[in-house]
Amino acid sequence: MADVKEGYLVTEDLVKRFDEAIAVDEVNLSIRQGEIFALLGSSGCGKSTLLRMLAGFEKPSSGRILLGGQDVAGMAPYERPINMMFQSYALFPHLDIWDNVAFGLKREGCPKAEIQQRVGAMLDLVQLTPYARRKPHQLSGGQQQRVALARSLAKKPKLLLLDEPLGALDKKLREQTQFELVNIIEQVGVTCVMVTHDQEEAMTMANRIAVMSKGRVLQVGSPKEIYEFPSSRFVADFIGNVNLFDGKLSVDEADHCAIATSLGEMQVGHGISGSLGMPVTLAVRPEKISIAKQRPAGVDRNLFQGRVKEIAYFGSFNTFIVVTPDGTKVKITEPNGSRHDLLDLTWEDEVFFWWDDTDGVALRD
């Protein structure tokens, strides 16, 4: 967790209740200046409500929102130095692109020359200068998205909010757009909070991610931290693919522990300072697990046997579902890195699979 003092945007015990339902439950976040911060969760987890509270469209039931030390929770949306890019873009259909981008500047009462200059610079930034006099409906989805971005950046907001920024684009356009979007945001240097349900989008775009569920923030960290060191079963399961082995803590030292599972004892390369015998779950990512027909030489820990039940070919990698004698299904992915399939595995093959101590994460629930 970041030091609270460096928090540029801070939420303190932020709560939002709708009637009896709690949408956002005591959220404490500290976001650094200039970073792209993602709120990630499935629909109904409270991420959108949190974003709408930052924008000012929802009033917090309790708690504070501090932006650069100033409490903005009581401010109306039109008073906040915060701008938002809407999921639907919400471009004004009756205004052309130029007037859409100029809308916020005109409300500020900027001098005409400054508006001219600023709108021009924004349209240059998103490479839409030739389209300045078109209406929004005459542009493609990707172009509309860039107009929405230019409009939300025109007022030089202290905080930029992105609501599912790529949600309205088709898959092919997404990949290209997300890099573009990050480039522009970093070029401008604005602090940015984005909401998404798409973990890939969050991982590629954000510096840090907050995983949310049921109105609470479960874990905050860089994409790598979230992926490699999930702090809970939910996070491990939500981000990417994972094998979860339930068991009981059998060894617990400062730098390692072991878990007794139905497959046997599993060694873990870190301690969790729990009590022996407590229920613990081991999370191992499918790509961390090796697989082979022959018993690997020199491996004596976290080595198990099973039978290949399913094989799925994804082009750049293969996924195997291996079933152990006790019925546990284990997912294993192997990259297709070589010309010949050295593994030469097929259905119903008896195989060995194994992983390093440091590849698993022990989770207490």
């Binding site: 469209f57 039109y78 639907s88 009756h94 809308f103 409300r107 409009r151």
Partner: protein, 302 residues
């Protein structure tokens, strides 16, 4: 065979409303236009032929039209007819403006009401149609008369010392017309406003527009089509309104509808009455056609 049937079917579907319009609107209009050129002489029968069957000479009486624009011995454009045209336009415009002023907030809150309340509220807008139109207009007589409800209330409250004359004035007439035509303004506006994407208003707030500014810069421009439709739906029938001015208006509120009636049934001058009607239709249709043509071109540009 199958194709033929399908083709016939399609033409039938288009043909029915088309022939309805042709028979009950276009044909009567042609008859009206025909009568407007008839020279009745001293006859009481207006359907006289426009040509002499013996010589084949066509005889159109243009005086029916000329007299609308110039009275005998008077100056051009200084006629009672043009005066009542002008008055009709003024009152119809005032009625449509009043309806817009009252109907817009009305439609706005209707459109913003929660979805399960809307049908009931919409029903209430149309509820007045369930009672007789005449009864409702007469009810206004009871309210606005010198000894009517409103005057008595104001007297009782001590706001006025003696009754104000409201009935048979501009006020009573405009109140009556606005009241009757209000639903025609509310419904198209509602249909338009209910489709307004609320996130556009949020975007406006987000960019620094106060709710009032956002209303004028986003809601109003986006409901332009509804405003125009509502305005037309009120303005056009109000222009030819006959009953309400007769019941609630005074002698100085003479509108064109009443003038046509008088020419038709008092002076028994059908050709003059028809000419008056043709001029009025022209005065409505030509600007409308120009407007739609202009709009069509503007849309074609996009």
């Amino acid at each position: 065979m199958h194709r033929l049937l399908r083709l016939l079917g399609r033409e039938f579907v288009i043909g029915v409303p088309f022939s309805w319009l042709a028979f009950f609107f276009f044909l009567p209009f042609l008859i009206l236009a025909y009568i407007s050129f008839v020279d009745m002489g001293n006859d009481i029968h207006p359907f006289k032929p426009l040509w002499d069957s013996a010589t084949g000479v066509v005889n159109l009486k243009y005086e029916n039209y000329v007299s609308i624009f110039r009275a005998e011995g008077g100056a051009l454009f200084d006629t009672l007819y043009l005066e009542s045209y002008g008055r009709s336009i003024k009152y119809a415009f005032a009625t449509a403006t009043l309806c817009l002023a009252i109907g817009y907030p009305f439609a706005y809150f209707l459109a913003r009401a929660s979805a399960h309340l809307r049908p009931a509220l919409l029903m209430m807008v149309m509820l007045p149609f369930w009672t007789s139109f005449l009864l409702r207009v007469y009810a206004w007589k009871g309210i606005l008369a010198d000894q009517g409800l409103l005057n008595q209330l104001l007297l009782a409250l001590g706001l006025i010392a003696e009754p104000i004359q409201m009935l048979y004035t501009d006020v009573s007439m405009l109140v009556g017309m606005s009241y009757v035509y209000l639903p025609f303004m509310v419904l198209p506006l509602y249909a338009n406003l209910v489709k307004l994407d609320y996130s556009l208003l949020e975007a406006a707030y987000d960019l620094g527009a106060t709710p009032w500014k956002a209303f004028w810069l986003v809601t109003v421009p986006l409901s332009k089509a509804g405003i125009i439709a509502g305005f037309m739906l009120v303005f056009i029938p109000a222009l030819g309104e006959f009953v309400i001015p007769s019941l609630l208006g005074g002698p100085e509120n003479l509108m064109i509808g009443r003038v046509v009636w008088d020419e038709m049934f008092t002076a028994n001058n059908w050709p003059r009455a028809s000419a008056l009607a043709v001029v009025m239709i022209g005065a409505i249709v030509v600007p409308l056609a120009l407007y739609y043509r202009h709009r069509g071109q503007a849309e074609a540009q996009h």
